[in-house]
Amino acid sequence: MDPKVAKLKEKPKPFLFPEFCKGCGRCIGSCRFGCITEGTEINPETGLIPVVLDLEKCSGCGLCASACPEPFGLFMRVVDVEEIAKEDLEGVHTFQEMVELFDKADFELTDPSELFGPRETEAPEPEPIPDQWIPFSHDEPLVLKGNYASAVGAILAGCRHVYGYPITPSTEGAELMAKLQPLMDGVFFQAVSEVATVNMMYGTGGAGLPCMTFTSSPGFSLMLEGISYMVGAELPAVFVNIMRGGPGLGNIGPEQADLKLACRGLGHGNSHAIVITPSTPQEMLDLTMLAFELAFKYRNPVIILGDGYLGQMTGRVNLPDKMKKPGIPEWAVYGDLSHRRNLICSIALSEADLERHNIHLNAKYAEMAANEQRADLFHTDDADVLVVAATTPARMAKGAVQELRNQGIKAGLFRPITVWPFPVDLLKPLLEGARRIVMVEASNGQLEDELRLALSKEGVHPPPIQHVRHFGGVLPQQEEIVEAVRKGEEAAK
């Protein structure tokens, strides 16, 4: 390093700290005057051979600096070094020495990289902009489809960013959003695929704003990769999956066969999300609002599982008494000064860091499991038989339970509102009285798997479990549930 450059005040001259030179040689060819030559000495700190500068003939053209790929490599010195005694500079050969020199000279440099010029602004410690709840009043119930009710819930939860790719039977939600969002200067954007959808949500969720999508089973499959990234990067978002018949293209009838994906298969890695299963249009609204709350509370996606029937079902829906104007959380990458420090990412190179991150995520999952179990209980207090069902089949089951009660059979309905975490704390006390469980599902026992796993983790052995199962768009009907329960009762006698 030749500190002679310091003498030349008129024109900036290149400067290089050898430890930041990788010896790539790109600068050598850029100098017409041959000021830069290959080095011969290995730098002890880097193990690389930095170039050598001889600036006798240097014109200060700067071409060498713009050929150097290193941000702290060759640069055109802009610091006015007149204040520093020339002889002091003579001995300076490394970055560290420069720092020490400046320290000695009581120079107002707290960070050596200020050598490279003044900084425009300093990013402050990010601060959250809080959410605001605004009173909202409307007394008359609305007549809404499940999908619409969910969209309305999202709007009232402050969601102004909706992304999606059309897929039956979830499209009404998207269509209503396409109609309403632009009128509120919000965004409905039809993405090129479900893969693009989830990644747009990654961007908007990363900016700290509430966003959502309406999709259905095959589309949800495609989103799983992105959901894993969102879980890893701790981003909030709400996914409404109106489940249809599968596997493969299947059909557009109602099924419940994505429970395993939502509860156990959210992409790669140790991922989990709260999974909510509404069963009425009213719940589609209320629980969509709740989903946004939980997504931000835990900085994690939330999955709402409905079925084709529920999405299409029209019913009575009462509006809440408040709506939200969302703020911006302190962690967001919003694209402004106060959030400039932030980073959204799911990468952690070192094993120790990634393990720590996973431990942190698992602690969140444990918190969700402890606080967010929800279920609806109907005639369960003295039930001998517990019928367990979610989404639309739970309504057939409710009808069946009522009918069974009318017939004098002590049946009760246990309806999980969250299937992950499974509401095992609410189920356990009921098993003291119940002799049997009848699982009513539109899948091959995916809800039963959650129930069994949850009980097993609690060390509770379940009573005998009977099932009423249908597939492919066929839903269990009230009469066959009644029949199944009666048969079970007779067999038990």
Binding site: P69, F75, E120, I252, V333, K398, Q478
Partner: protein, 481 residues
């Protein structure tokens, strides 16, 4: 030169300790570092550091966020441009850079790449084309040259492995982008052009002009197994003939202020939100029914309306649900959906409950309204004992006999509708007939719901009311016969 857009210390690079706090993770002579510098300088010179968001890809530049002192988002492989759109739509004032390599942009992320380009929203895409996969260890890239040896084309890329993708040309073909240029990093002149192009691409975003794309022919000396100066030469000699340099598209000057992207701020005005949600459904509808129609069922009346697609069964069913809810009852409607409902059978299940609809399906309805013969044949036998069937006698000449004490009423829905002047109105005729036969709700309840549903198409109300009255009349007169 100022490097405000770089962190003062690369805290995220090995915790910023030692040399790593001020040097990149890139191999010596890698083109990425140069492009980072030009991008950083552009951000500084345009004064947009505070509102810039850099979206980094998967590839060697995955760690862009180690260096740029801006908002940073690291995205999944290939998805950077749509992540960028997600950011731009969240904050239209932000300046979003999607920085991607060739595997990311030209292979796994092609759909996102093209879509974002064609959407044309102002984001800046920087595409590093070095003809090879760097991070995974020198495999073939979509831009690998024919004959070029890589870890997955050990005998050189041949045609069976595909031909190199010319992304700048492809992107320039689209109508969305305003500016597309291909630049290179060999020699001072090319580097100067590269810097200018990158700055322009960011500036056009800052000015809300639109989407810009800069492809940079870059050097990966490591996997080319060359010194950096040799790699520069290789790019010049081998890549430029396949990937010619220059501006591929620039319509930035013809973007008028109307065509510019307009930043927006979502509204949270409570009045506006309420009006939009209610969509005119707000006016209170008076109740007319004295009680729950328990002459049909004690707690829960179930109905099925069935016909062919286009018969209006769903609309009629929805009206029934609306009426019930207007009357303070609970109600549900579920349509049968599916390809078979398009032109085939379309049926709707409706429940009307005093307290709460439990099961919303109607496998054994109290009331069946059949618009065609197949529906009557299919659902007629399932009607509950003492139930009611109303069918369109214009199209069902020979109704099958149904057991179980079910009462059947034939009303010529279609004939009446045609007489009134519109065939499609037969579902309202059916509702009139339904009201007269069942007295589910008072006449006024039906009419109120019809008016409410047609609030936006007032001109249609009189004809619908007429259809309803004719439907009633047909039943009442038939009863007198």
């Amino acid at each position: 030169m100022s490097v405000s857009a770089f962190y003062q210390r690369f805290e995220r690079h090995a915790k910023g300790l030692g040399i790593k706090g001020h040097s990149t993770h890139y191999c010596p002579g890698c083109g990425h570092g140069l492009v980072h510098k030009y991008l950083g300088e552009s951000i500084d010179e345009l004064g947009v550091q505070d509102r810039t968001i850099a979206v980094s890809p998967v590839g060697c530049s995955v760690f862009l966020y180690y260096y740029m002192d801006v908002g940073n988002t690291q995205s999944a492989h290939g998805r950077a441009p749509v992540v960028a759109l997600g950011h731009k739509l969240a904050n239209p004032e932000s300046v979003v850079i999607s920085y991607q390599g060739d595997g990311d942009l030209a292979s796994i992320g092609l759909a996102e790449t093209f879509h974002a380009a064609q959407v044309g929203m102002p984001i800046t895409v920087i595409f590093i084309n070095n003809a090879i996969y760097g991070m995974t260890g020198g495999q073939m890239a979509p831009t690998t040259l024919l004959g070029q040896e890589t870890a997955t084309t050990p005998r050189g890329r041949d045609r069976t492995a595909g031909l190199p993708m010319r992304m700048a040309e492809l992107i320039a073909q689209l109508d969305g982008p305003v500016y597309v240029e291909r630049v290179a990093l060999f020699g001072a002149k090319q580097r100067e052009k590269a810097k200018k192009a990158i700055k322009k691409a960011v500036r056009l975003q800052v000015e809300n002009k639109g989407y810009s794309f800069v492809e940079v022919l870059s050097e990966c000396p490591t996997h080319l197994k060359m010194t950096p100066p040799e790699a520069e030469e290789w790019v010049k000699e081998n890549m430029v003939p396949i990937f010619p340099l220059g501006v591929m598209k620039d319509v930035s000057d013809s973007i008028t202020s109307e065509m510019e992207f307009k930043p927006f701020t979502p509204s949270f005005e409570v009045e506006k939100v309420r009006d939009l949600i209610l969509e005119g459904a707000e006016e209170k509808v008076p109740r007319h029914a004295a009680a729950f129609p328990e002459h049909i069922a004690k707690e829960d009346v179930s109905l099925k309306l069935a016909g062919a697609g286009g018969d209006g069964a769903q609309t009629a069913a929805l009206l029934l649900t609306r009426m019930a809810i207007n009357e303070g009852l609970d109600s549900t409607h579920i349509p049968s959906y599916g390809p078979e409902s398009r032109g085939g059978t379309s049926y709707a299940d409706v429940h009307i409950a005093r307290q709460e609809v439990l099961s919303p399906a109607s496998p054994q309805p109290n009331i069946l309204v059949a618009f065609n013969a197949p529906s009557l044949v299919k659902f007629g036998p399932n009607v509950a004992p003492d139930g009611i069937i109303i069918y369109d006698s214009s199209v069902i000449a020979d109704p099958p006999s149904i057991n179980g004490n079910v009462k059947m009423y034939g009303v010529p829905f279609t004939e009446i509708a045609v007489k009134i002047g519109r065939r499609v109105i037969k579902n309202v005729v059916a509702l009139g007939a339904l009201q007269a036969v069942t007295e589910l709700f008072p006449e006024e309840t039906f009419l109120e719901a019809i008016r409410q549903a047609l609030a936006a198409k007032c001109a249609m109300i009189p004809m619908n009311e007429e259809a309803f009255r004719w439907g009633r009349k047909a039943v009442l007169e038939g009863m007198e016969d």
